[in-house]
């Protein structure tokens, strides 16, 4: 809460009319708020904490893997560390990151609504998230869990002697938080659009959020029930997963991945949405093939449910199932490819400016390209038999998750930071950190592809000595990456107090969120906006006074 109150007080100094931050400073005005923007800020603070915790675990892992032996950590500790890294990063950072923070803050503004359709549900989802997170943190402090984030049975039901129950319960509860968020978004997009904001005038960020919400609604309940069954089985030793009593561990994997593969798209679709915004806006050019990008999001959301079996190619499912799932995996690659091509085409004949968000956007394109292509490696049956459960997989999903979602999240955070806080951050440090993240990331994870093909299994605390060199590269890269991630934390917080006031529309962009004050008032707009322009129109028809803006720009640059 510290930062948050600070934002408010910092804002008091200006002669500005009351915005959502200066509208009440008591703790109560925050904890009982129905304002989607304040809820988003509270989400932002919480997930940042979880991100830092997960990052510490990651650093520990890389340090341990610096040497082939288990000298820094014992195997037991290492198992807990990578498990908790996974659980925190996936369930408590990646899944809520863009939807709950940027989506929560911007979706209503982008469609010209006063708030989400169900504000109390929104607040409720935040509290559910907090409860789930608290339970998990409690379990981690008590001694943690060592099942791997996948909770495969029968290890998790019978053999693991760690806090599986508490963590499972935490994830179960947390699931309903994302269900409620998704529910809220869907309703909002359907009923709360401003006059003139037709479906095909929606920013692509909104389309991506909509697709994500579909996945959340349809997928998350299944993981909830799965974790519930797991918990019952663990407590009373009766169940359907333990082969000792006629159960079937493969069924758990089916039910788990039915959610957890679509969850991968929960973790990358919003990122794609953000990047569509960045690419189009910072090349001041209408996005190329709007409809195709929009529908490819929906297509990914739908096809994402048909491919979960590609996590189980060697698990003992039948090869015929394996072939079906592999085929569909190839199909689901197409929409992502379409997006990629359209983004590149958007740059063509644009007017590209290299502000920090755009650097992140371009970084996303590079990393997601590699992440997606290596996905084909892992979808191709013959190859995956050799590659699955090796560091190739680890590298691949880090390219998609970190190179995709986290990069996009940072890009979006920088992009909308002036709008969210009313302050400008240091452009210089922004660019530096963007570079560092890009370089450090590649140095960290590219060697792991090679390690993977060498056959180094994942989740190994110690590994054959001949693989050390590549691991040293990886760890070195991780240290650079860490610096890259810590810097934004510093200069963004710094900007809250000392950053210069942000204009309402620093980049003269057409999106609705740029047509209200920064930070926006509690009900987002002085009066209900009426949309008369298509998405991503930068010319006169967007009604922006560009000459005025240029004049203002020249003044600021001279002085």
């Amino acid at each position: 809460m510290q930062n948050v109150d600070a934002i408010g007080s910092a804002d008091l100094t200006g002669p500005t009319k009351t915005n959502y931050l200066s509208n009440g400073f008591t703790l109560k005005s925050w904890l009982l708020t129905k304002d989607h923007k304040r809820i988003a800020i509270m989400y932002l603070i919480t997930i940042s904490l979880f991100f830092m915790a997960g990052g510490l675990y990651a650093a520990t892992i890389r340090l341990e893997l610096l040497t082939p032996d288990t000298d820094l950590l014992t195997s037991a500790t290492y198992n807990k560390v990578f498990t908790q890294h996974g659980i925190l990063m996936i369930f408590f950072f990646l899944i809520p990151s863009i939807p709950a923070v940027l989506g929560n803050f911007l979706l209503p503004i982008m469609i010209g609504a006063k708030d989400l359709a169900l504000p109390r549900i929104n607040l409720l989802s935040l509290y559910i998230y907090w409860i789930g997170g608290a339970l998990t943190v409690y379990a981690l402090l008590q001694g943690g869990v060592d099942t791997g984030w996948t909770f495969y049975t029968p290890y998790s039901t019978t053999f693991s002697n760690s806090y599986v129950m508490a963590v499972g319960l935490g994830i179960f509860i947390n699931g309903f938080s994302s269900i409620l968020t998704g529910l809220n978004f869907i309703v909002t997009v359907h009923t709360m659009r401003a006059p003139g904001m037709t479906w095909f005038r929606l920013p692509l960020f909104v389309w991506a959020q909509y697709a994500t919400s579909l996945v959340m609604i349809l997928g998350t309940p299944v993981i909830a029930i799965t974790v519930l069954l797991l918990a019952i089985e663990r407590t009373v030793q009766v169940g359907i997963f333990d082969p000792a009593i006629g159960g079937d561990p493969i069924l758990f994997q089916h039910m788990f991945w039915f959610y957890s593969h679509p969850a991968v798209y929960i973790m990358v679709l919003p990122g794609m949405g953000v990047v569509s915004e960045l690419i189009s806006n910072f090349s001041r050019k209408k996005i190329f093939g709007y409809e195709f990008i929009a529908f490819s999001s929906i297509a990914i959301a739908v096809f994402g449910f048909l491919v979960w079996g590609h996590h189980m190619f060697v698990s003992g499912q039948s090869i015929y199932a394996g072939m079906v799932f592999s085929f569909l995996t190839m199909v689901v690659a197409i929409p992502s490819a379409i997006k990629m091509f359209n983004w590149s085409a958007t740059l063509y004949k644009g007017s590209i400016s290299y502000d920090t968000p755009m650097l992140y956007g371009l970084g996303f394109m590079g990393l997601f390209l590699i992440g997606g292509l290596t996905g084909l490696f892992l979808g191709s049956l013959g190859l995956v038999v050799h590659l699955t459960d090796t560091y190739f997989v680890v590298a691949h999903f880090h390219y998609v998750m970190v190179g995709g979602q986290v990069i996009a999240y940072l890009g979006g955070l920088h992009y909308w930071w002036p709008k969210m806080t009313g302050r400008m951050y240091s452009e210089f440090w922004g660019k530096v950190s963007a570079m560092l993240v890009f370089i450090g990331f590649n140095l960290t994870f590219f060697p792991q592809f090679i390690l993977g093909y060498q056959g180094m299994p994942r989740r190994y605390a110690s590994y054959p000595a001949e693989l050390q060199v590549l691991n040293i590269f990886s760890t070195a890269g991780a240290s650079v990456l860490a610096v890259g991630f810590i810097m934004p934390l510093i200069y963004l917080v710094h900007s809250l107090f000392y950053g210069k006031k942000a204009p309402d529309n620093p980049w003269m962009l057409p999106g609705l969120e740029w047509r209200t004050s920064s930070p926006p008032p509690t009900e987002n707009f002085e009066k209900m906006p009426v949309v008369t322009w298509e998405a991503y129109e930068f010319g006169e028809e967007s009604g922006l006074d560009l000459d005025e803006a240029r004049r203002r720009e020249s003044v600021t640059t001279v002085s």
């Binding site: 349809l218 979960w308 039948s318 090869i319 015929y320 199932a321 799932f325």
Partner: protein
């Protein structure tokens, strides 16, 4: 959902009609379970029971839950959720049904 209260329901005869169908369906399900339909093909009993259940569900959804008078979106969400259930069942079972012949197990 019903915008004004003149539509969105089917009046007494309608409601009780649906009710009658549901009751009849239940009783029929009960007694049909005693016939040996499995001798026709395995699972025939369950199939019949499920068909009845689906009919009952449709009645409840259409008339008690007013889907019949609802906007397309509601129809869509109902159909979609059933479709996703189908996905989950079908793709899980395709593994189990082809397991025996799969090379993984004997």
């Amino acid at each position: 959902m019903a915008d004004n209260h003149n539509e969105g329901h089917i009046g007494y005869p309608g409601y009780f009609g649906v009710f009658a169908i549901l009751v009849a369906g239940t009783i029929f399900t009960y007694f049909s379970s005693f016939w040996d339909l499995d001798s026709i093909f395995p699972g025939a009993n369950t199939l019949l029971a499920l068909l009845i259940a689906f009919t009952k569900m449709t009645c409840v959804m259409l008339f008690f839950m007013h889907v019949y008078w609802s906007p397309r979106l509601i129809w869509l969400s109902v159909v979609a959720s059933l479709f996703w259930l189908a996905i989950m069942f079908a793709y899980t079972m395709q593994d189990y049904f082809t397991r025996g012949s799969g090379v993984f197990s004997s």
